[in-house]
Symmetry: D2
């Protein structure tokens, strides 16, 4: 692979997310092509591959990675399959984009982190795509500029129209609030040290067994206080908002309103109905950034450390939720590779 | 009447507007009481008077003005009755608040203007209540501050949910756009020199015979260009907006949004359904300002000159509308009393 | 005092707040006049009285209350003086508007509450003026309508440009957050059962000794969760916002934007600089509502129970703040008089 | 060229716009590569080509079009050079994306239109990129849905921070308002039949010789009325807004606010400073849409008819501006190829 060549990507996992990344690489972004797709479901892999010129279907990640035209790997399989795919790619020193979660828990994330350290250089970008959303990027730039002084608090709203069947309290943390956990770490450049989960009486609209909404409070090692309203059956749409409260001002994102109508006695606009509508361009930018960096021979974006830290905070979050009390986060010391 | 005493007001006309002013003086504002009400309909006058302590009903304006406890006059009768009431009050040199229109046309307005000049001092405040609306006041203050440089254009929207039965093209100008004509003169401190009225194909929702909406362009002697969308069957509510475009910035009012909701897939809020909801406080402030000035022995606010100029611009507007071309406004030279 | 007569009010305390109420009753609202002012500082009382026709200055509340032309009492003296003034007025069975706080602590509030119970009927309206703010009133109406379902959470922001000298952590609760405590009880119609106070590292702009901002979490007996950001040195202005999160939608107030400008590379508008600018009309409506109800022989608005409950929640709040842990609120059973 | 192959594009013109398209095709969008660049300035062409793998520099459009790896042509040279390049491409029946203006005047546009008709099928997409802006696309979808009824008026604001040196009154129409002319035709699906240009006294900030701002009124064959404020020295930024007024509601775009800050006594946000910031994604979508359609063997988007109609309306606009009166637009009958 020369710096300028088109990147041949093996996409592991061809479910909803994997298929979407195949479409993105093939039809939206620049500089890469899908050379291989991998799925334990051979039929599904073949179907996806057939729609892409020069794409081969595999059932084994390792076979795809061994192919001559595969320069890089995008992991979009279910979380439990990530560790082995990551380790296999490390064997061949291939660059990776790994969808979140890095792995299902902090212990496995730590093993992957140690493996990358043994490799001696970063190879993995973890798929926290909010870091590529235009509004979050603006907020980050403003905070980094120091113009408003030090951030003291971060108020977050995370609302879904409705939760899929089988959604649990733990998934509220691991699948939903994990985004705010990463955003907190990234926006503030601080580690999360403790988690508290508070619960009002659940909405009557919430499915049996799910305490929805919940209110999560995060504390950071920089002394910031972060609150997250997570409400996955709010009914009206998908809405993600953040307000940073700093020493000399505040900044809020997520109210962006493309079109305002007056009709039937009301002014206002429509609310996005799912995360695709809200974050589609963030996904495009995320994958483009990965392709661009990889072609330059670099690794940028969220690291395995970020994936590990998110897993550790999630574990504390679920414990805080279960035990109903403030729970401290345990992290190993940050290795030099990730400083 | 001492400066501090409670003002005894005679309210002439006890229709919707008159009755509302009676309520306002009695129950909302400070420093005045309704001492007399006048209506050709004796029954209606009596009914209104009976609800107010110490209030006498009359059928003749002159009789009310002669009463010992009447210190000032508020005219809220139909426009054609204004001239004689104004002249009668001038006889007794009583302070007046005269609802718009001052009189039904420029010729009669000119007669009243000449009468007040003969009196030798201002006695009349004309009821252009938008000058007392908090948002317009803010816009005026900003323009006057010079902060944004000279105003170059003024874009206006004036929308009603629906027009009352019998509403005509001429009433679009005389009853509706007259507000923007006054606002233009007041905000810019300039006279209007020409009017053009443009018409798209009318809305199917417009009543038979009414060309609704229309688009009015005003030119001023200060070189400003003013456009007014007038749409009296917009269906969704009552909405008044203005945007001043100046040399170094623009300023817009009328988007004030008290409460924003998210529900049923939409964000936004409700739109006022009539001018009472939108301008009620402006009416309160207008009458309070009149009472306060009168108790201090002063006359402030829109003058007879403003009433006359509005009438002259309206006449040009109706002619422009009828003849389908740009029509110049004819004004006498501004008398010293109104400079 | 007949129902229709002008109410003669004795204003106790002629500091900033008292003097403002004297102006309000004399020049803004309808149906009342200031018959007496009371201040331990005789000079100050005389000065204020001299500006109002027919107003007598006193140094003793009881003397003012005994005056023939005093029909009602407005208490605007410092909190520690409230209890004795309230009890003195009860002796004469006079209607009262008592500025917040009702009294400085829950124990004294309870004594006043018991005294009013002995009187056998409500006589006191407590000065929680946010209940009269147009935006809060809209939010309350929306919640009461049930249109959005049951309220689950209430997010509040309470920001001041800067705190006055000598402002303490306890005052953050007792003077500032007390408003959100009352608003919570009123909007939700629920009692507050527990308070938690969280603190990020204070802003460098905060004065020595004040932990600013703080984050207060309230729990209610209806199962709602309420959070309050209190930030009294935010630097940019006075800002009060509330967002109710309900089962089928959310509603937010406090973003009301009268005028939007484009200038110097930015769109936006100005922020109120103090509570007077933000809540002046709420004060007007509050006192007008009190005068109107009193003239009708009724007592409406926040009751002594509301004043007592606020004091009890504040005490729990200060304890929560001091001890750094969730603190339960202790309330007596609600007497029949206040149900 | 098969349907799936990467499109080899010859970019004609390597000035600011051409170089930006080269970057876009190479680094942003999918499915195409720059195979050739053409510029009369051989040095500049070589410089641009050297940054792109497999790209050859030419000084003659025809030579580039003759190259084996060139499948399609993007014209970004100055307007006067467009006609010959278009005709040369027609000789080879190559698909084209032609930057606006199609050609400098209606007569030359008509010649190109006739040439494409002789070809017998559409080959050209004209570069009116606003049709690819997400907000305009939403507005178009809303209008097409019929939800708000028939559009009656369209209010437009088009503001630039400052005009480049040498900007003339005619350029106000040909370079700036031409966008609103195209948007009007596209949003409403109607032809423009007359143009009027009104002028307030110019801003003191406007350069000598330029009457800035101006106010353009368009009439359409569907009876709609369209107004455009064009203000190219507004000072505060680049701002494009449109409000459609329909029979049952209105819709406004261009107020989209990504991030709202509170600081220094003001709430609000930043304004884009140039069209790149505002419309960069529209350019990306425009070129991607062209590449996608071309690879499918189709031609979509604005046609030569649209380019010709815009030229005819611009000519009427400049005449209206010069002669100071309403000027009718003359169009040939629409050929079958463009219906």
């Amino acid at each position: 692979m020369t710096q300028r060549g088109t990147l041949g990507v093996a996409v592991i996992g061809t479910g909803r997310m994997g298929a979407d990344h195949v479409r993105r690489i093939s039809e939206v972004i620049s500089g890469a092509r899908v050379a291989a797709v991998v799925d334990v479901d051979a039929e599904r892999a073949k179907n996806v591959a057939s729609g892409v010129e020069g794409c081969t279907a595999y059932t084994e990640p390792d076979a795809a990675m061994a192919a001559a035209d595969v320069d890089a790997v995008l992991i979009a399989s279910p979380g439990p399959a990530h560790e082995s795919a990551l380790l296999a790619a490390f064997e061949r020193d291939l660059p990776l984009l790994c969808e979140k979660p890095l792995t299902p828990d902090a212990a496995s994330a730590l093993r992957v982190l140690e493996a990358e350290q043994r490799l001696g250089h970063r190879r993995v970008q973890v798929g926290f795509m909010r870091r590529y959303d235009a509004e979050y990027v603006k907020l980050k730039a403003l905070l980094d500029s120091g113009q408003l002084g030090r951030p003291l608090m971060l108020h977050n709203r995370h609302r879904n129209a409705s939760s899929p069947p089988g959604f649990t309290d733990a998934m509220l943390i691991n699948d939903s609030v994990v985004h705010e956990m990463d955003v907190t770490r990234w926006l503030l450049g601080q580690e999360i040290t403790a988690v508290t989960v508070l619960r009002p009486t659940p909405s009557d609209v919430a499915p049996e067994g799910l305490a929805d909404p919940q209110f999560v409070v995060l504390e950071t090692d920089g002394g910031a206080l972060v609150d997250v309203e997570i409400f996955v059956n709010c009914g009206f749409g998908y809405q993600v908002q953040a307000e940073a409260v700093c020493e000399r001002g505040t900044a809020r994102i997520g109210d962006g309103h493309a079109m305002v109508t007056n009709a039937a006695g009301r002014w206002g606009g429509t609310i996005a109905q799912d995360f695709v509508e809200r974050f589609e361009e963030a996904y495009d930018r995320e994958v483009q950034a990965w392709v661009d960096a990889t072609r330059r021979g670099e690794v940028t974006g969220p690291s395995i450390w970020d994936g590990y830290a998110a897993a550790a905070v999630c574990e504390a979050g679920v414990r805080a939720q279960t035990e109903g009390r403030r729970t401290e986060v345990e992290l190993i010391e940050r290795p030099a590779l990730y400083r």
